[in-house]
């Protein structure tokens, strides 16, 4: 008897088209979000506040209500949705530029207020949709279209460690950084997303996951090379792990 080992999550739209570049981790991340929604049974009460950049297209994949926020304002829009409808499940899905550069104030203040929201941030060390410019998480030495000689401290300063900053906010219930470079790490990522969603459902506060992701097109790499870069260059700086989990006393 055949056993089904792979299926499109129920929370996906039936007629979606895959629009990301080959090897981009957005597709994996969105599928994990959908799987967690299936498992928690929350699709019908979900409202997503999307952002600007490649991440905005999540509303083309997920079969959930969504509002597109102006650039950087996803957590403010999500706050408005949630405060107006405390019984709904509200989450944001944005890139590092949206979450931690133009939207840093909105993101951290949502965490500081302890908004019962869940936020996913895709960290790929660049502005993908606009063609690979330097962003808040671009690594020191990294060449981008606006750091042609590599990121140096003199001109550009330092990259931001998002999960650690979010963990420092008293209103944060859960903050973790994960990667999608191996099967094992994809499984860990799914557990983190689930936890970030559960703390909202339990009314415990702000749930956050930073996902280290690839951008093979702008990194000028193959998908395999891109995942090697995540492992060898990103993970030593952006160290994966759970930075805050108020449901796990040992962890803190």
């Amino acid at each position: 008897m055949a056993t089904q080992v792979f299926k499109v999550p129920d929370s996906f739209k039936k007629d979606f088209k895959y629009t990301f570049c080959p090897g981009c981790d957005h597709g994996v991340a969105i599928k994990l979000v959908a799987e967690v929604m299936d498992e928690l049974g929350i699709r019908e009460k979900t409202i997503a506040a999307t952002s600007i950049g490649c991440s905005v297209t999540i509303y083309d994949f997920l079969n959930v209500d969504a509002i597109e926020s102006p650039h950087g304002r996803a957590l403010a829009v999500a706050t408005g949705v949630k405060r107006a409808n405390p019984d709904k499940f509200v989450f944001t899905y944005s890139g590092d530029g949206d979450f931690a550069s133009i939207g840093l104030a909105e993101s951290l203040h949502a965490a500081l207020r302890g908004e019962c929201l869940s936020a996913i941030c895709i960290n790929n060390t660049t502005y993908g949709m606009t063609g690979g410019q330097l962003g808040p998480t671009t690594l020191l030495g990294q060449v981008t279209t606006t750091s042609p000689m590599g990121r140096n401290v003199e001109y550009y300063g330092y990259p931001v460690k998002i999960a650690e900053h979010v963990a420092l906010c008293d209103g944060t219930a859960f903050s973790a950084r994960v990667s999608l470079d191996t099967i094992a790490n994809i499984r860990k990522a799914k557990q983190a997303i689930k936890k970030a969603f559960e703390v909202q459902l339990q009314g415990l506060g702000f749930g956050f996951v930073e996902i280290l992701s690839t951008c093979p097109t702008n990194w000028r790499m193959s998908p395999q090379q891109a995942h090697e870069r995540v492992r060898n260059e990103m993970m030593p700086v952006f160290v994966p792990g759970v930075y805050k989990d108020i449901t796990n006393k040992e962890n803190n």
Partner: protein
């Protein structure tokens, strides 16, 4: 049940009156950031909304406040923010989004002096900011302009109603004078029907397809269609929702125009001159968008001259000139923002224009 002074006539400050009216109008959510001369609105709301178990957030910035309003409005709720001049400049992007998203955003704007930080004196320097705006693309904002505290209450109700009826942002445009002065008002009940948003609001995709509120529109033709649809709403507004006050224009040699609380001094000055036998009429647009173009064209055919008076260097006067399209000369008398002309000064300026 709201028990906010809605039974009897009370003496109250403009900002408190506007806030109280918003509560009676059924405002579900208030999001705000302090700025003089409107901070009493947020102060009042912080207590009242919590008392009524409605949503209130002290936002980290005006950018956040207006975007929280967008989020709450996307679920069909009545939501508002209030602010002033240089801080409303920060909200222009979100207002542009809200027109494309067709969200019933309510914004109370209590004008102070500008440009930049300017000062906290009453001013009319934000006529252009409200009616033209600084967001991107083709759009209009509904703008209502009260001249008394009672009218501020009545127009707060109307601002909520029109925003929801037309699913478009609406601004109640007051000024520091109106916000800070006390006058007797009656609140009564919210006089408009509730608008049903169940066919578009985001409440979770249960037993229906998912809904997306978005302004991103990569295809040319759907975007053109969308803009035409929005402008069709603006045409309806221009046909059905124009409000103005008009006094003694029938026999007038000169019709004087002003908006907002300055109109009180202008009317007092005209009264003095009428008593001297000068034939002067008065016209006050109450809706700054939709602007009373049609009525102004009619009056232009019967009078010899228009004089527009504003506490700015000439903003509404451009709309007046466009409305009459050269049919009568339109003169302007103004003062820089942050100063307020006396009745005597206005009477002198109007008398000069008659000759």
């Amino acid at each position: 049940m709201v028990e906010c002074l809605n039974k009897t006539k009370v003496l109250t400050k403009g900002n408190y009156a506007i806030a109280n009216a918003a509560v009676i109008a059924g405002c579900d959510c208030y999001f705000g950031y302090p700025i003089t001369p409107q901070s009493e609105i947020g102060e009042f709301m912080s207590g009242k909304m919590q008392e009524l178990k409605r949503a209130y957030v002290s936002a980290e910035s005006e950018l956040a406040a207006i975007n929280m309003v967008l989020g709450a409005c996307s679920t069909g709720k009545k939501a508002m923010t209030s602010s002033s001049s240089c801080a409303i400049a920060l909200m222009q992007e979100a207002l542009s989004y809200a027109t494309s998203d067709e969200l019933p955003v309510v914004l109370v704007s209590v004008m102070r002096g500008g440009p930049g930080l300017g000062n906290i004196f009453p001013s009319q320097g934000d006529y252009n900011q409200s009616t033209i705006g600084g967001g991107d693309g083709d759009y209009k904002i509904i703008v209502l302009s009260p001249s008394t505290v009672q009218e501020a209450v009545d127009l707060t109700y109307k601002t909520f109603y029109l925003a929801h009826k037309y699913r478009n942002p609406a601004i109640l445009l007051a000024d520091g004078l109106l916000g800070q002065m006390m006058e007797p008002v009656e609140f009564g009940e919210y006089p408009y029907p509730e608008v049903d948003h169940s066919d578009w609001a985001l409440l979770g995709a249960k037993n229906r397809n998912s809904r997306i509120i978005r302004s991103y529109s990569p295809q040319e033709e759907p975007q053109c269609e969308h803009i035409r649809h929005i402008f069709e709403k603006y045409r309806h507004l221009e046909e059905n929702e124009v409000m103005y006050e008009e006094i003694d224009t029938e026999d007038a040699d000169l019709v004087v125009l002003s908006f907002g609380s300055l109109s009180r001094n202008v009317k007092a000055a005209i009264k003095q001159l009428r008593e001297k036998g000068l034939k002067i009429g008065f016209f006050r647009p109450i809706t700054l968008f939709p602007f009373p173009n049609k009525r102004l064209q009619e009056i232009a055919g019967k009078t010899k001259k228009f004089l527009t008076i504003e506490v700015n260097m000439g903003q509404m006067v451009r709309d007046v000139r466009l409305a009459v399209n050269g049919k009568v000369p339109v003169e302007f008398y103004g003062k820089p923002v942050g100063s307020w002309p006396s009745v005597e000064e206005l009477a002198e300026a109007i008398e000069k224009a008659v000759i």
